[in-house]
């Protein structure tokens, strides 16, 4: 007897097979692109045009529609990377390893975007580009963790060994995630406290909040698209000697 329902288990086992994963992402991708485009257009139109100006910051606050979703994604992708790394370590599942390493560059990019947009906003609002407070420093450490994962993977020749090393590094770094989230509550920081991701009502007007949530969802879909594209390439290069890859190459040529 298993606690996991049978259809879910079946889905899991089928996704574990590389050719099935490959064709499944092929079917999923066009839908995800359509949903992403719709969400990002709605979110940007709502955020940059429809949303009212802020009572204190005027129009400068609108960078929030990039900064905050990017910062959320930097944490979200890291958790996905660590969990799939753990699955790869425990069950030796190839797809999980591929998902983990394909997520790293996307996560690193979102972290960089969050840091750069925050810095651009910080100069006029705070009066400085950068301060070494707990929130900014822990987010910078997250960027270094991502870069560490990417370079460790590149440094080891055998990709199965590399995946194991990378998964352990990702799991070690996962302690940083709650630190980033709670840094603004545990310590005095220059960075403000949470507006949306907190207990109780968000401290944001509803007309400003809806585009923000639209953008956050759009970024999630963007990540799924970018990750699946990268995972397909990674899978092809890892499985290049297998029958199903040869078949795809023959069909394409």
């Amino acid at each position: 007897m298993s606690i996991v329902p049978a259809p879910l288990l079946r889905f899991y086992h089928r996704m574990a097979s590389p050719p099935h994963f490959y064709s499944f992402t092929d079917k999923l991708l066009p839908w995800f692109v359509v949903i992403f485009v719709l969400l990002v257009v709605a979110g940007l139109y709502g955020g940059l045009y429809l949303a009212p100006t802020d009572y204190q910051q005027g129009d400068s606050y609108r960078i929030i529609y990039i900064h905050v979703p990017a910062a959320w994604m930097s944490l979200f992708i890291y958790v996905v990377m660590a969990i799939s790394g753990a699955i790869g370590l425990i069950w030796r599942m190839k797809i999980a390893d591929v998902v983990a390493i394909s997520s790293a560059p996307i996560g690193a990019s979102f972290t960089l975007i969050a840091l750069v947009t925050g810095s651009l906003w910080g100069k006029p609002m705070w009066g400085t580009w950068w301060v070494w407070d707990a929130r900014l420093t822990s987010e910078l450490i997250l960027l270094f963790l991502y870069l560490g994962v990417i370079s460790l993977y590149g440094a080891i020749e055998d990709k199965r060994t590399a995946s194991r090393a990378v998964s352990i590094l990702a799991l070690v770094g996962v302690v940083n995630i709650p630190i980033i989230h709670y840094s603004v509550e545990w310590w005095n920081t220059l960075h403000q406290g949470p507006t949306v991701a907190k207990m109780g009502k968000p401290s944001m007007h509803i007309d400003m909040l809806i585009p923000l949530l639209l953008m956050a969802t759009a970024f999630k879909f963007y990540y799924a698209i970018a990750m699946m594209l990268a995972a397909k390439v990674e899978l092809l290069s890892r499985e290049q000697n297998s029958q199903w890859v040869k078949k795809i190459v023959e069909e394409k040529s």
Binding site: P52, T53, D54, Y55, Q56, Q57, S60, Y61, I64, A86, L89, I90, W91, P124, M125, W126, G127, T128, V131, W132, D133, A134, I168, L171, V172, V174, V175, I179, W186, W187, N188, T189, L190, Q192, G193, P194, T195, S203, M204, H205, D207, M208
Partner: protein, 148 residues
């Protein structure tokens, strides 16, 4: 789950738990150093360094901003709603600097316990709303104080 997989799972959980405990203790030990600024109560209580530079954070008291000279020198009072500290600063203030706003300053205390700031940073709060909403909120607060 086979015994081998179970063992790996337990090993990973132990590793993550171990690192989390180690980091928690390290952060607890460095708690003071991780604070970006001192509050005004801590400064009044003498917890801030006497000679060295440190950061002071607090709310700018309403009606406390004054410009004693012709220059850029500004004097204002910071509070954490319990103790107050007077701050003097010469220079350009950030956009968000205004009365009732949270700020962080960097500088040192002089002999008269006045904080001589070399840098003033505005600390934004977590509230976002259109100006009309902010106005009506202010009106409601005003009516409540009149009502009392």
């Amino acid at each position: 789950m086979t015994p081998v997989k179970k063992q790996r799972l337990i090993l990973i959980l132990l590793m993550v738990a171990g690192i989390a405990t180690a980091v928690t203790f390290a952060l607890k030990a460095f708690n003071e150093n991780l604070m970006y600024f001192f509050s005004t109560s801590e400064v009044v209580a003498g917890k801030a360094p006497e000679q060295a530079k440190f950061r002071l954070g607090g709310m700018v008291v309403e009606g406390s901003i004054e410009r004693p000279g012709d220059g850029l020198m500004v004097r204002f009072v910071l509070t954490d709603y319990s103790k107050e500290v007077t701050v003097e600063y010469t220079g350009i203030l950030p956009d968000l600097f205004r009365e009732g706003q949270g700020i962080v300053t960097n500088g040192r205390l002089n002999k008269e316990q006045v904080f001589i700031a070399e840098e003033v940073l505005a600390k934004h709060d977590e509230n976002y709303m259109p100006p009309e909403v902010a106005d009506s909120l202010k009106k409601v607060a005003l009516q409540q104080t009149i009502g009392q």
